[in-house]
Amino acid sequence: MTDALLVAAGAILLTVAVGLVRVLYGPREVDRMMAVQLLGTGGVAALLLAAAATEVAGVENVALGLALLSSFASVAFVVASPRADRR
Amino acid sequence: MSPGTIAGFVGAGLVGLGLYALVVDPKPLRKLLAFNLIGSGVFLVFGIVARRGATGRFPFDPVPQAMVITGIVVAFAATALAVALMLRLAEETGTVSLDPDAGAKPDDGAEDK
């Protein structure tokens, strides 16, 4: 069961890694931000699975922090963009 | 391999990548990113020293880990200060460059408000 959970975590990380090619190729800035968003959600899922598999104390707290904050860069992107367009 | 060796090599690689970009890239914000890469590489090396210090009750040595935590916070403070300096420099000279001649146009774009 532990191995299965780890394999699932690895599979999610792998798909997230594939998604990161959007950071490379864009073509638009939003596409790059979306890949980071995917990394946030996938990272939370992978951490939860790893936490259940390894029982290192406190990993759920890391996942909680990541869940809370992983969208901040995207919010900053949206908030900073229109100002750039108007000037 | 002892636990965390791979992460240690990642740390060494990050220091190398960051050092190269710090020397080669002329843009200040890119230099700042490179500097942060070096920093996190060093933190990872601390991390594997902490992991190797595992004994009995702890799977890690808490002293290097605590140092990394203060290090991350101080690195953020330094980054924020550097960004503030960069934005102010850009406001003064109208360009993003560390080259003293690049923005030497006293009447031009110094005040864009």
Binding site: V62, A73 | G53, D99
Partner: protein
């Protein structure tokens, strides 16, 4: 064990790949996005190194707060003309050689680390009961090496002073520029209204459990700081006037309380920065509470930057 090894190798390749992307990307914004992704990945690496305290710090500061700082900065700087002239091939090769040499030396040093590894973990464990704490990392930060941590808080205050000091004289004492646009998207206002109260509870909880589990003043304070930032981005709150006395008190409360307790050490416990036996844990939590306040005030101000006249109506 093989599953772990494969996972570790994959994560290592991913981290190095994203790091290489941040220095190879042509546009500044793509590099910054790469760096944010890199920060999130590092949090996962720290979990694998059995360092959940560090992972939490990295997720909050590397992924959240730094992301906002850099994305906003790259957007502002990206509008200006960029000098393109890079160095010549010779310098590039020399730099690559230097970088490879340094990286190789570090890797070699790691291979020849002493075995068995020196460790302060037994020492930390032996005195843990005296502090009343369960989390050894928190004990190192606030009890064993408390002088470092106090000075590090002073560094944060100095950084704020440094950021403020680049303000033009005529704006001194005013407000930093707002973090968000004049008419924020209603969805953003909704997000700030939902996220901020939940984040407040989580931040305080992570500070509170930090005495015994992973977490602590830095992590909790950074989460609270991020919540203050999203509230400011949604324009539900303006950045405070930097001349405000209450703000300045909040900034120095952490190091000041720490210093006062540390200096009172000789009277109550027999030496500087020592805690009286049996009373250590409440005192540590007391100091940490003020540190949380100071960190939560400091980080958003570092992101907001100096007052530049845009903040005044």
């Amino acid at each position: 064990m093989t599953v772990f090894d494969a996972l570790d190798l994959a994560i290592a390749a991913l981290v190095l790949g994203v790091a290489a992307w941040t220095i190879a990307a042509r546009e500044m914004f793509s590099a910054v996005v790469g760096y944010v992704a890199y920060g999130l990945l590092l949090a996962i690496v720290w979990v694998r190194l059995y360092a959940p305290d560090v992972a939490l710090t990295e997720a909050a500061i590397g992924g959240g707060v730094t992301g906002v700082l850099l994305v906003v900065a790259s957007k502002r700087l990206g509008r200006l003309p960029q000098p393109e002239a890079g160095p010549g091939l010779g310098l590039k090769l020399a730099a690559a050689g230097l970088a490879a040499l340094v990286a190789g030396l570090i890797a070699a040093a790691l291979l020849y680390l002493p075995d068995p590894a020196p460790s302060l973990a037994p020492e930390a464990d032996r005195h843990l009961a005296q502090t009343g704490l369960g989390n050894a990392v928190t004990a190192v930060l606030i009890a064993y090496r408390s002088f470092d941590t106090m000075l590090e808080k002073v560094v944060l205050v100095l950084a704020v002073v440094g950021v403020w000091s680049v303000a033009p004289d005529r704006f001194w004492g005013g407000r930093p520029a707002p973090l968000g646009p004049a008419s924020p998207d209603p969805a953003l206002v909704f997000l700030a209204r939902v996220l901020a109260p939940v984040g407040l509870v989580i931040g305080v909880q992570i500070f509170w459990v930090g005495a015994d589990e992973p977490g602590g003043a830095f992590q909790g304070g950074a989460i609270l700081a991020a919540m203050a930032m999203i509230v400011m981005m949604a324009r539900l709150m303006r950045p405070p006037r930097i001349g405000s006395r209450r703000l300045r008190l909040a900034l120095i409360a952490g190091p000041a309380v720490f210093l006062v307790v540390g200096l009172a050490g000789p009277l109550i416990a027999g030496s500087f920065f020592a805690y009286p036996a049996g009373f250590a844990k409440p005192l540590i939590l007391f100091i940490e509470a003020f540190m949380v306040l100071s960190i939560a005030a400091t980080l958003p101000l570092l992101v907001a930057g100096p007052p530049n006249g845009e903040g005044e109506p």
